[in-house]
C-alpha cells in the first residue's frame, strides 16, 4: 500500500478529512476562546457556590434585588440575542443591509442592559454595598455580586464595542457574513452566561 493509499484509507475510516470540525479556523478559534471563557465563569460560580454553602446563611434575594428589574434586564438580553441571530441569518442570505439594522438593534439592547446594570450597581452601592462589606450580614455576598456581574458586564461592554465596530464596517462594506457570525457567537455567549448568573445568583 502506498503512503497515499494508506492516508486515504485512514481518512475514510475517521471521515474527518483535512478539516475534522468542518469549520474555518476563525470560527474554531472563537469556539475555543468561548470554551475557556465559559470555564472561567464556571470557576467563579463554583467558588460562589462553595462560599454560599459553607456560610450556611445568605441574604434573601428579594430583600436585596428588584426582581421585576432583573427580569427586564434578562428580557432585554434575550431579545438582543434574537436580533443578533436574525442579523447572522440575514448576513448569510447576503442581505447585509438588514444584517446591519439588526446589529444596530442588538447594540441598543446591549447599551440598555449596561444602563440597567449601572443603575442596579448604583442602587446597591448607595445602600452601603462594597466589595468587602454590605448591610445584609454576609460580606462575601456583595464581593461575589460585584465580581461576577462586573465580569459579565465587562463582557457585555466589549460586545457592544464589537457590535458598534461591526455596524460601522457593514455600513462601509468592509465586513462580511463571517464577521457577523463571529461577533454573533460572542454575543450569544454573553447571553448564555447570563442564564447561569441569573439562575444561581438571583433565583436560587
Amino acid at each position: 500500500m502506498t503512503s497515499m493509499e494508506h492516508r486515504t484509507a485512514a481518512e475514510v475510516h475517521w471521515e474527518g478529512g483535512v478539516s475534522p470540525f468542518g469549520v474555518p479556523w476563525q470560527k474554531l478559534m472563537m469556539w475555543f476562546f468561548l470554551v475557556t471563557d465559559a470555564l472561567l465563569f464556571a470557576g467563579f460560580l463554583a467558588a460562589y457556590g462553595f462560599v454560599r454553602l459553607a456560610n450556611g446563611t445568605w441574604p434573601v434575594r428579594s430583600e436585596v434585588f428588584s426582581m421585576p428589574f432583573i427580569g427586564l434586564m434578562t428580557f432585554v438580553l434575550i431579545t438582543s440575542s434574537a436580533t443578533m441571530a436574525t442579523a447572522v441569518g440575514a448576513a448569510h442570505r447576503g442581505d447585509l443591509r438588514l444584517a446591519r439594522t439588526f446589529v444596530v438593534l442588538t447594540t441598543i439592547g446591549g447599551l440598555f442592559f449596561l444602563g440597567c446594570q449601572a443603575r442596579e450597581w448604583t442602587g446597591l452601592i448607595l445602600e452601603g454595598a462594597r466589595l468587602t462589606a454590605n448591610p445584609w450580614g454576609v460580606p462575601a455576598f456583595s464581593g461575589f455580586f460585584f465580581m461576577i456581574t462586573g465580569f459579565h458586564g465587562t463582557h457585555v461592554l466589549i460586545g457592544v464595542v464589537l457590535l458598534a465596530l461591526l455596524a460601522a464596517r457593514l455600513r462601509s462594506g468592509r465586513s462580511s457574513a463571517s464577521g457577523v457570525e463571529l461577533v454573533g457567537l460572542y454575543w450569544h455567549f454573553v447571553d448564555l452566561v447570563w442564564v447561569f448568573i441569573f439562575t444561581f445568583f438571583y433565583l436560587i
Partner: protein
C-alpha cells in the same frame, strides 16, 4: 450530506470562509420561536417561588429550566445543532465535564466545611 437548508456539510463541503457554513440560513421564524421559548422559561423561573413547591423541587425546576435555556441558545442561536458531531462533542463535552467535576468537588467540600464550623 445535506442539512435542512440544503447546504453541503462534511469533509466535501468547500471551506471558503466562515460564511460557507450552512447554519446561518435558517428561517427567521426559528429564531423568534426560540426567543419566545426563552422568554416563557424565564417567566416560569421568575414566578417559580409562587408555585406550591418544596424548596428542593423549586431548585430542581430552576436548574432544569436553566439547562433548557442554555441548550436553546447553544443549539439555535449559536447554531450548534447544525455543526458536526466532532465539534459539538469537543465543545459541549469538554465544558460540561469540567464544570461537573468542578461543582462535584466543590459541593461536598463546602458541606464538610459547614459541618466543621458547626462543631
Amino acid at each position: 450530506m445535506t442539512t435542512i437548508s440544503g447546504h453541503m456539510t462534511g469533509a466535501t463541503a468547500p471551506l471558503t470562509g466562515v460564511s460557507a457554513q450552512p447554519m446561518g440560513v435558517m428561517p427567521y421564524s426559528k429564531y423568534w420561536i426560540s426567543w419566545g421559548a426563552l422568554l416563557g422559561l424565564t417567566m416560569v423561573m421568575l414566578f417559580s417561588e409562587t408555585l406550591p413547591l418544596y424548596r428542593t423541587a423549586a431548585v430542581m425546576l430552576l436548574l432544569v429550566a436553566m439547562l433548557v435555556k442554555a441548550g436553546v441558545i447553544a443549539a439555535w442561536f449559536m447554531h450548534l445543532r447544525f455543526e458536526r458531531a466532532a465539534l459539538v462533542i469537543s465543545i459541549v463535552g469538554a465544558t460540561v465535564l469540567t464544570a461537573v467535576a468542578l461543582f462535584g468537588l466543590i459541593v461536598p467540600d463546602a458541606i464538610a466545611t459547614l459541618r466543621q464550623a458547626a462543631q
